[in-house]
């Protein structure tokens, strides 16, 4: 369970998170929508401790992320994150990309790591690209590789930060299909996205962020069908 309590965060004089409260249960899929600069991506990087917070509390399975005593490297093994930029490691083949952290961080034996990598890469449809370097992959393939790389660490939670935003339109579908598959399999996920149709389909709840505040959170039918917040109404009519 991920519990976010009254989290505040500023970059200089700009307050990007103004007291966010959100609890995500095991197996739940929560998507976050909202305009750029609404703080949604920042929240994700706070959850796995890549960004510090100014006040409030984030706990993952009871471990407080930003407590001094927390071993973030250990905690991050539980929480996979995939970014907008694909961040493929260019010097490693697809297979090596997915094996590296398994071997060096989790200390899995090579054979085991390789088997897991092959499994995950097959899962995201890259089983025929094992020996290829990322520069030979399309954006969609690189992003699916990044997802496989995160999944190979056997995380309990997955965070997706606008994973389709940097993709050519015709490549968005293949990545969203991968996310849909994960959602169906019961992975606990928080997705920041601009894909409304996708949000509607996969989410248990959808949260709307506006200027650092979570203006509304509701099951998708309710949030998209009968939005209450005036900013959300504006946002939805602009994006439809």
């Amino acid at each position: 369970m991920i519990e976010i309590e009254n989290v505040r965060k500023s970059f200089g004089s700009l307050e990007v998170l103004k007291g966010i409260d959100l609890t995500v249960q095991k197996g739940e899929v929560v998507t976050i929508i909202g305009g750029s600069g609404s703080g949604k991506s920042t929240l994700l990087t706070c959850i796995n401790g890549l960004e510090p917070i100014d006040s409030g509390r984030i706990t993952v399975d009871g471990t407080e992320v930003h407590a001094k005593s927390t071993d973030l490297n250990k905690l991050r093994r539980k929480i996979g994150i995939v970014f907008q930029q694909f961040n493929a490691f260019p010097h490693l083949t697809v297979l090596e990309n997915v094996m590296l952290a398994q071997v060096k961080v989790l200390k899995r034996p090579k054979a085991e790591a390789e088997a897991e990598a092959v499994k995950q890469l097959n899962h995201v449809g890259l089983g025929d690209k094992l020996k290829v370097y990322p520069s030979r992959l399309s954006g969609g393939q690189q992003q699916r590789m990044a997802i496989a790389r995160a999944l190979a660490m056997s995380p309990d939670y997955m965070l997706f930060d606008e994973v389709t935003s940097a993709l050519d339109p015709q490549l968005v579908g293949e990545v969203l299909d991968t996310l849909r598959m994960l959602a169906r399999e019961g992975m606990t996920m928080i997705c920041v996205t601009h894909e409304m149709k996708f949000a509607r389909e996969v989410s248990d709840r959808v949260a709307f962020f506006h200027k650092g505040v979570m203006a509304e959170i509701a099951p998708p039918d309710q949030l998209f069908g009968a939005p209450r917040d005036p900013e959300l109404q504006k946002f939805l009519s602009a994006t439809h």
Binding site: N48, L50, N73, K74, R76, R77, G80, I81, F83, Q85, N87, F89, P90, H91, L92, L100, A101, K104, V105, L106, Y133, P134, S135, A146, R149, A150, M153
Partner: protein, 221 residues
Amino acid sequence: MFNYTFQWKQALARLPQMLDGALVTMQIAVLSMVIGILLAILLTMFRLSGIRVLSAVSKTWVEIARNTPALFQIYMAHFGLGSFGIHLSPFASILLGITFNNAGYLTENFRGALKAIPDTQARAARSLGFGQGGAFRYVVLPQMLRIAFLPMTNQMVWAILMTSLGVTVGMNTDLYGVTQGLNALTFRTFELFALAAVIFYLITKTITLGARLIATRLFRY
């Protein structure tokens, strides 16, 4: 006016000795590069550590190495340290001097190469559970070495050529030192030094071509 008679045979007869010298030259260059690269990695980390003292050490090193004659650096290693009662052999002095020079130049190369790698790479590694050191070692460093590879080759060539400065601190077993000795013995100045130049050329050319070959093998991405 021009009545010099070339006597190549005399010079060629000394070729085996000169090739032995060439081996010593390569030994110095290789050692100075290996140690230089390790030092440069360390100095690069010092520079980026954000710790003032370490950063200053790194900066000073780079400034001196790049803005003073290599001859001065080698002199300092031998006679400079000698003034403080630290007496290094000619071999150790030339090795120290060239290593100092290599480390300085390579640090700048590495720093430039690091700047070319997006921060998001380290971030992605951290989010997979790597600590700062692991992210550097397994993700950033290999990419940095690729970018810095050709400048490293240049420095290796430069290291080979710098060994010739060893004669000034009494080095007489390297290619240049041996040639110098033979010259004093035979006075076939032109022939001997021309032969030495050809050997230098062949060594450095081999390094450049070899490096290119290694690069295509090593960096297939």
